[in-house]
């Protein structure tokens, strides 16, 4: 199983439509988020899905394991699931994804803001009021100056999503061009007396609430260094703070003495007194440690040869959850033979998605997909243009059709290089693809490279990657986070390591459809999702990618762990586990 790394930054700005829409409706992300009109009512309390804190379980030490550390501790710089998961108990933004189990975890709720924002000026102005009485772990009050400084810091530290998530703030363009001279004073306006924070955008962005609820928008003390803090922990606002961090040994979280629960939905009290994530054990050894109750959870996916064991002997300690993600083949539409749409369609017909599912761990850990948007995701509609016998879901490969298309393309006999990560699952799927391409008449070679560099390597057109296996995990629950990010013209930047449109797909008609869907999103999310489904169909007709499967995640916890909750946004809620 692959380590579910977050997707990287996109260098090019994601285009937004400028046309104005109705004020209140602009914020209403009706499918998943709480909807606030001009009054900005607080939806934080009394929401469904929340479980009240149970003090009898408080205390103890939660022991987590990971193969290795995940780099910098700076929440505005780090872009890995491993630490984003832990940041949920450490840092807060103005808004947060609800920390609950299940579908409700996609709901955005007020966090350091008293309520959801008031949206005015045709969706271009968001007004928040800062919650009073919240303190950092160093004892200092959280003030509006901290908020303004934190937004500025996103640019001064060159946060990975500065150019994509926050580029719409007034003044952001100049900050992106010259981070050291960043001035957001007109984009983020604060008033100390009233505690008001006003964010001005150059264009309406209905997805802004999502973007304010991820760790890169964490509120940090105004005096935080204007550079990546690295291994030095920054003061937190959540129930825990960082006690110590050594990337070679462990990250230890201890209780934040200045934390008092202000919103159970946004930032609930944690159960364990300390949470320690230790590094260095192999995944095999880590799984054994959890089985023996020497540790409580392991971040890395269990190895393939341990799945049957943990699914039988330790079944009661295993939690399997579907992810809004996909594994897919990115075919370079600008390089032969994949510059020919027939070849790309042939690959989609030929690839045995059931085989890929098997290599991932079986049908209980993954499901074949044909569409860009994963199942149960906004905009997803069952559809499969590349399955034997037709239908809306994938049933079997159609090799005869694939061979016919390749014959028509006249590309048989060409050399094709496949680039995958060198971990067990990705490499084995790569070997299968090599075998398949050989069967289709190509001279296929496999290039498994380190997971640390593969994702950026396959993005850079200078590396002339023809076909690659990769995966994409949502940043937030919106169709645009897949289609607009992975298949729009703006997401393709030749010669850059951050050209997330790996296939290099650019179709002006499809781009216009995406813009239309984005525009509709502001007023009518349901209609927008229907449009995204059409975009999905249009993109897949040209087959720049071959979606393989949507994965599930396996969490193995020790027998002493209770209160397992799975947020669809940030996965297992670490702070909510108890060991007493």
């Amino acid at each position: 199983m692959t380590r579910p790394w977050r997707g990287p930054a996109v260098t090019g700005p994601i285009p937004r439509r400028l046309r104005a829409v109705a004020v209140a409706a602009a914020l209403c992300l009706a499918v998943t988020t709480g909807c606030s009109s001009g009054s900005g009512a607080d939806t934080a309390t009394g929401a469904t899905g929340s479980v009240a804190f149970q003090p009898q379980h408080q205390g103890g030490d939660l022991k987590l394991l990971a193969k290795s550390a995940a780099g910098t501790l700076d929440p505005q710089v780090n872009y890995t699931l491993q630490y984003w998961q832990l940041y949920q108990a450490l840092y807060d933004g103005l808004l947060a994804f609800k920390k609950v189990d299940g579908q409700d975890s996609f709901t955005v709720v007020p966090d350091l803001a008293e309520a959801l924002p008031t949206v005015t000026d045709d969706g271009k102005t968001y007004t928040f009021t800062l919650r009073k009485g919240v303190k950092f772990s160093n004892g200092a009050d959280v003030t509006v100056d901290d908020v303004a400084a934190s937004f500025k810091r996103i640019f001064t530290v060159s946060s990975p999503t500065a150019g994509t998530f926050y580029n719409g703030i007034v003044g952001a363009a100049a900050c992106l061009a010259t981070p050291t001279a960043c001035d957001l004073s007109t984009g983020v306006v604060v008033d100390k007396a009233s505690g008001k924070i006003v964010i001005h955008l150059v264009a309406a962005d209905p997805e802004l609430p999502y973007k304010l609820a991820v760790p890169h928008a964490s509120i940090l003390p105004a005096g935080s260094p204007a550079k990546d803090a690295g291994n030095a922990p920054l003061p937190t606002t959540g129930p825990y703070s960082v006690g110590s961090y050594d990337p070679n040994t462990a990250l230890k979280l201890v209780r934040n003495p200045h934390y008092t629960e202000w919103s159970h939905d946004a930032q609930p009290q944690g159960y364990s007194d300390t949470i320690t994530e230790s590094f260095g054990l192999t995944v095999e050894a880590a799984v054994t440690a959890v089985e023996n109750n020497q540790a409580d959870w392991v971040f890395d996916p269990p190895p393939a040869d341990r799945l049957n064991e943990i699914g039988t002997t330790y079944a009661k300690q295993v939690h399997v959850n579907p992810l809004t993600a996909m594994f897919y083949l990115a075919m370079n539409t600008r390089l032969a033979p994949f510059d020919n749409v027939k070849v790309r369609q042939a690959i989609n017909f030929a690839v045995d998605r059931a085989a890929a599912v098997k290599l991932y761990g079986g049908t209980n850990l993954a499901a074949p997909v044909c569409t860009f948007l994963p199942p149960n995701f906004p905009g997803h509609v069952d559809d499969c243009q590349y399955t034997a016998g037709g239908g809306t879901t994938w049933t079997a490969p159609d090799l005869a059709k694939a061979k016919q298309l390749i014959q028509e393309s006249g590309t048989a006999g060409m050399e094709v290089g496949i680039v995958t990560q060198d971990d067990e699952v990705n490499k084995s799927i790569g070997e299968y693809l090599q075998s398949l391409l050989t069967q289709l008449g190509y001279k296929a070679t496999l290039k498994p490279i380190s997971a640390n560099i593969q994702f950026t390597y396959i993005q850079n057109t200078s590396n002339k990657v023809q076909i690659s296996l990769t995966s994409w995990y949502q940043d937030y629950p919106a169709a645009s986070d897949f289609l607009n990010v992975l298949a729009s013209c703006a997401s393709f930047t030749p010669g850059s390591d951050s050209s997330i449109n790996i296939a290099g797909f650019c179709d002006k008609t499809v781009d216009a459809q995406m813009q239309d869907a984005l525009l509709t999103e502001r007023t009518d999310p349901a209609a927008a999702n229907a449009k995204w489904a059409q975009v999905d169909k249009a993109v897949m007709a040209q087959a720049p990618i071959a979606p393989l499967f949507t994965p599930k995640i396996v969490d193995l916890v020790s027998s002493r762990v209770g209160n397992y909750q799975f947020s669809k946004q940030f996965y297992m809620l670490v702070s909510q586990l108890w060991t007493k």
């Binding site: 341990r306 699914g311 399997v320 850990l365 067990e424 084995s428």
Partner: protein, 336 residues
């Protein structure tokens, strides 16, 4: 009775060595093992096509096979507990149906083991041969001419020697594997088997060339070389007729030992994914293939591991036998 005079027939060192080798039961047993291994590997295509009816390089993830008369999937999904994971079929001990089981691609491990042996043995022997030839040229030239040439060649060998063998081999492999290499008119492609051959041969040259150079330095002082110089023989003739025949036994002793070393190095490189590239297989790549199956199907890794150990031990014992046969003084020193 008249005394019959039997003319004395001179037995050359090679003939004497061969006779000595034949009397060494350990060496002969090792040779037998090597012959069996080589023959089995040479017959790999026959086994795959006529016995196992399988393509050892093609994935067969959704395939089935027959065990005990019943058709079963080659990769079986777990149907107990939470139904997590997929397990390849284990050894059936039926040569026609996955004798040693399957790897995670649904490929016949036995067929791959035999095919992998071909590549491992080929690379091992070719690298050892290339290494010995190159080392002989370097050692003889450096030792015979001395002076600047010796100084330059000796320093080059020193530089190569300064790097740990495996580190150097891994570095070269990582660099060359992506693009291949072009030496003059010869181009070796990225996935070619000749790439590991070249790399392994290169990294071991100092280990053979340095002792040969020392031997040549000593030979240069011998009377027969001085006599050849005295009668006006050319350098080329002296090296060919007087020096080379005297260092050749040493080279022959090195050959099987270097083959074993080269084979082990190839396995290590392939295990680290920087040696033989898929879909080709070697014993090292098969061990790597089995890493993720150690808990459920250890045979995938153990089988090539045994093959490597068996072949390396046999080559070493046979190499020792050759050394004893061609250099009796070494044997005497060993028993003293």
């Amino acid at each position: 009775m008249d005394e019959v005079t039997v003319p004395l027939r001179s037995q050359g060192p090679w003939r004497l060595g061969l006779a000595q080798l034949r009397r060494n039961t350990g060496a002969m047993a090792s040779l037998l093992v090597l012959v069996v291994v080589v023959l089995a590997c040479l017959l790999a295509p026959l086994y795959a096509s006529a016995v196992a009816h399988t393509d050892p390089f093609a994935s067969n993830i959704s395939g089935t096979t027959v065990v005990g008369g019943a058709t079963v999937p080659v990769l079986a999904a777990s149907d107990t507990g939470l139904g997590l994971g997929v397990t390849p079929i284990g050894p059936t001990w039926d040569p026609a149906h996955y004798f040693l089981g399957s790897d995670n691609q649904g490929r016949d491990v036995m067929a791959r083991l035999l095919y992998g042996g071909r590549d491992s043995l080929l690379i091992g022997f070719a690298a050892a041969l290339l290494c010995c030839v190159a080392a002989t040229v370097v050692g003889v030239l450096a030792g015979y001419f001395g002076g600047v040439l010796d100084a330059v060649l000796a320093r080059v060998l020193d530089v190569l020697w300064a790097f740990p063998v495996y580190l150097l081999a891994i570095c070269l492999s990582v660099v060359l594997l992506t693009e291949g290499v072009t030496i003059g008119p010869v181009t070796i492609g990225a996935g070619s088997l000749w790439l590991p051959v070249l790399i392994i041969a290169l990294v071991y040259v100092p280990y053979v060339a340095r002792p040969l150079r020392g031997q040549v330095l000593a030979l240069k002082e011998k009377e027969f070389v001085a006599a050849a110089v005295g009668v006006g023989a050319s350098d080329l003739r002296i090296m060919r007729r007087d020096v080379l025949p005297n260092v050749l036994p040493t080279v022959v002793v090195f050959l099987p030992l270097m083959t074993a070393l080269a084979m082990l190095t190839e396995s290590a490189l392939s295990f680290l994914s920087v040696g033989v590239q898929p879909p080709q297989a070697s014993w090292g790549t098969i061990i790597n293939d089995g890493l993720g199956l150690l808990y459920t199907r250890p045979a995938v890794s153990i089988a090539p591991g045994i093959a490597i150990a068996l072949t390396a031990v046999a080559l070493n014992i046979f190499g020792d036998g050759i050394r004893d046969a061609l250099d009796p003084r070494a044997r005497l020193r060993g028993t003293a």
